[in-house]
């Protein structure tokens, strides 16, 4: 369907729901506002009739002055193109919206997150429980009138820092053992934690008699907690596994152990302050995060970085991709039991790239390099030569070596082929992203589907494989590193001289009111930043569509029926970073 036709059908849709669906006419906003009653119908219609089969982001915004809460959806077509944004408004006092899980199962975790943090009830959601905070937590922290314990001010900079600043150690206002605050009606002594029982009760129960597998030896159901502290979970991540013998009957991820309410912090920060905080999301790909955030703010401000800065950005983002994929392959092999040798071979190459990051940005991991309308500083002398040497000689050789080392290895193959299969339809429905999506046969890469920055100039292939198992995800990552090297070779060849910043880099940027959604293809998948500005120095809403978090939505489903030892491998192949999952 061509763009014009699509617009016609969309207009027809608007006519179909008179008074129920209207264009969002607020200044700086885009998309449609639809009434609550017609939401599911509308979602089904855009999926079936218009091909918007990929619901990327679901989030809410608390418009406190209007006493309204708005739920914002970003849907995309899997063959590329811009977003279809639609919104539902609901009164703040009784926020409830129909759940879209029946149409887009990928909305599952995101709706739970919106319930948890914003208190929006999704009618018809199969399992509407808190996901990042603990059961029993008081309030919904992303609401604008929610204040954290030891609250200082609703926006930085804090007034007591200057000119009458007198340093107080945070531990003094907040001494150990007294550094917890409870809601007024809550008494910690009388409280019996129910969270675990509530979690277990949702699991599949197997009767001892009726295991349904037709075997003579009957097995009991066993619940096993993997994590939160377990070397294979890549951080503090917990899975509750219900076992039938050694086979997985059901699996539920439990998240939030690293939750710090990044989004609330982001709304207290000024725009520039968020840049170093984005480094700490997916800390293996810090400049990819910088990229997404910079794009979102630049969209709002309506500025473009100069040519040289664009090239530097692409160079950094692609180096970051190689770093992240190397790490991912290394840890995957760790998870499969090849203890540390492949990991260290991969990390050696990563070190060389980190050396470049350190020389350019000043830090190996927390780079904080992108600015609105450019980058923080120009490349130091001689660094391009180093990058060139690395991407034309050493890295291709080393990636080939990794290929020889692992790809044909019979143990790797037998542990990976056919395990953790995510079929194409499910991958799309569950809003999987990045290598996980592409290994399932969906030809979708944001760099191609909706090119940002200068990605439309480069010659590279989007790697797609069709089996959707661990092995294919591994191969997609391996091939993507080669494609990144291809892009890097073109960058090093073509990078022009010139400015690296549009205008002067300001510490207090003026951001006009409005909303924007900036998305990039991060190593883990599509990373999106949804921003709402009200013209003040701090963003009104700052939401992150985090690929690691959303890729976990299908995790329980694809583990079912496999052995418990494979769960670790499957998790490794999804490649999560807990800094980004829990935010």
């Amino acid at each position: 369907m061509s763009g014009d036709n699509r617009q016609k059908t969309l207009n027809a849709l608007v006519d179909r729901y008179p008074g129920m669906l209207e264009l969002d006419a607020r200044e700086g906003y885009e998309g449609y506002i639809i009434s609550r009653e017609r939401l599911i119908e509308f979602a089904q219609a855009i999926k079936d009739e218009l091909g918007y089969d990929y619901l990327s982001s679901v989030t809410g915004v608390d418009y406190l002055p209007d006493e309204k809460i708005e739920v914002v959806y970003h849907a995309f077509r899997s063959d590329g193109g811009p977003a279809l944004v639609f919104k539902v408004q609901t009164p703040r006092a009784d926020a409830s919206v129909p759940s879209l899980v029946s149409v887009f199962p990928g909305a599952d975790f995101q709706e739970r997150e919106a319930w948890d943090l914003l208190g929006i009830r999704f009618e018809g959601h199969p399992n509407l429980k808190r996901i990042l905070m603990w059961e029993g937590f008081h309030g919904h922290p992303l609401r604008k009138d929610w204040e954290e314990p030891y609250f200082m001010e609703s926006g930085k900079p804090f007034k007591n820092r200057w000119p009458e600043g007198d340093a107080v150690r945070s531990e003094e206002i907040n001494p150990f053992k007294k550094n917890v605050q409870y809601p007024p009606e809550f008494s910690p002594d009388g409280w019996i934690p129910e969270a675990d029982e509530a979690l277990y009760s949702g699991m599949v129960q197997l009767g001892a008699k009726d295991s349904g597998n037709g075997r003579t030896l009957e097995t009991d159901q066993i619940l096993v907690n993997l994590g939160p502290q377990h070397p294979s979970t890549h951080g503090v991540f917990r899975m509750i596994v219900s076992l039938d013998g050694e086979e997985i009957a059901d699996l539920q991820p439990v998240l939030g152990y690293l939750h710090r309410n990044h989004e609330k912090i982001g709304e207290r920060n000024t725009y520039i302050m968020n840049m170093p905080f984005t480094d700490r999301l997916d800390y293996l790909a810090s400049m990819g995060n910088n990229f997404g955030y910079a794009l979102a703010v630049e969209k709002l401000m309506g500025i473009q970085p100069p040519e040289r800065a664009e090239y530097i950005r692409v160079m950094m983002a692609e180096l970051t991709r190689i770093v992240s994929h190397l790490f991912s392959i290394g840890t995957l092999l760790n998870d499969l039991g090849a203890f540390f040798t492949p990991m260290l071979y991969a990390l050696t190459e990563r070190e060389l790239i980190l050396d470049i990051f350190e020389a350019v940005t000043g830090s190996r991991m927390m780079c904080n390099y992108f600015r609105f309308g450019g980058v923080a500083r120009d490349l130091p002398e001689g660094i391009l030569g180093k990058v060139s040497e690395l991407v034309t000689e050493r890295l291709p050789r080393k990636i080939d070596e990794l290929d020889t080392y692992l790809t044909d290895n019979e143990i790797v193959r037998s542990r990976c082929i056919g395990i953790g299969v995510l079929p194409r339809e499910q991958a799309l429905a569950y809003s999987a992203a990045g290598p996980v999506l592409r290994a399932s046969g969906v030809d979708y890469d944001v760099r191609r589907a909706e090119p940002y920055s200068i990605y439309d100039r480069f010659d590279f292939d989007v790697i797609v494989r069709h089996n959707g198992d661990i092995y294919d995800r591994y191969l997609v990552r391996l091939e993507e590193m080669r494609q990144s090297l291809r892009i890097l070779q073109q960058v090093v060849r073509d990078i022009p001289e010139g400015e690296i910043q549009t205008g002067k880099s300001q510490y207090q940027v003026r951001v006009p009111p409005g909303e924007s959604y900036g998305r990039v293809e991060n190593p883990k998948g599509e990373l999106g930043f949804y921003l709402v500005s009200d013209g003040k120095p701090n963003p009104w809403r700052y939401h992150i569509r985090s690929p690691s978090f959303i890729n976990l939505t299908s995790f329980g489903e694809i583990c079912k029926g496999h052995k418990i030892a494979d769960v670790v491998g499957i998790l490794g192949s999804i490649d999560i970073v807990l800094g980004e999952v829990d935010r």
Binding site: K156, P157, F158, N160, R161, W162, P163, E164, G165, D166, A167, R169, S170, N269, T270, I272, M273, N274, M275, P276, F277, T341, Y345, T348, E351, L352, D355, E358, A359, V360, T361, G362, S363, M366, N368, A376, R377, P380, E381, K386, E389, L390, E393, R394, E401, T404, Y405, L406, T407, D408, N409, E410, I411, V412, R413, S505, Y507, Q508
Partner: protein, 202 residues
């Protein structure tokens, strides 16, 4: 043949294993603790063992490396320290974790603020080394340090740096960041000259 992939893979490990010995023999005891050895051992053509022997050996620090800010002072004619800081308050305003405190005091006679800060604190437990303070300082007064070995025995008193602890001479800044220093000094000189020309014209 089943197992061929395994053997191929093990060949890679064997190659790494042998290379590490070959490399040792090639260097004959001069592989460590030698000027320039690190650059080759960790360079793009490196083979063999990649690690460094910290703390005997340390990675060379690139000029842009940033760790905990410090305040630049210029030495006056009679040896007194003149902080470049004017307590304008931009760094505490831009600091993302809000770890900078500045005390500015007023002149008792005129009632106007004294430019030099009465005190200046940075809580290094909170500082996230982002470098925004140094980037946006209009007076080149606060800069990021290279000294990363800051472990101490007492976290209660040692981790809030005050003005004395933060102050470092301009010559130190010049030593750790020569290119930046030269660039900024040229810019300052240019500004001074422009000011001078303007004054003369008047």
């Amino acid at each position: 043949m089943y197992g061929l992939g395994l053997i191929k893979g093990l060949g890679v490990t064997l190659k790494h294993f042998i290379e590490s010995y070959l490399d040792d023999i090639r260097w004959l005891g001069r592989r460590y603790y030698r000027e320039g050895a690190l650059a080759e051992r960790q360079g793009p053509n490196a083979r063999g063992v990649f690690t460094i022997q910290y703390p005997e050996e340390k990675l060379p620090i690139p000029e842009e490396f940033r760790y905990i800010p410090f305040l630049v002072y210029e030495e006056g004619e009679d040896g007194d320290r003149e902080l470049r800081c004017t307590s304008c308050g931009i760094c505490p305003k831009v600091c993302p974790p809000q770890c900078i405190w500045i005390t500015r005091s007023n002149d008792p006679k005129t009632g106007r603020p004294i430019p030099t800060p009465t005190n200046f604190f940075i809580d290094i437990d909170v500082c996230m080394n982002c470098g925004l303070c140094a980037e946006f300082c209009p007076f080149d007064a606060i800069k990021m340090d290279h000294d990363y070995e800051l472990a101490s025995y007492d976290r209660f008193t040692d981790h809030i740096f005050n003005k004395e602890r933060l102050s470092k001479p301009l010559s130190y800044y010049q030593a750790i960041r020569p290119t930046n220093f030269a660039f900024e000094e040229a810019e300052r000189a240019e500004k001074e000259a422009a000011k001078e020309a303007k004054r003369k014209a008047r």
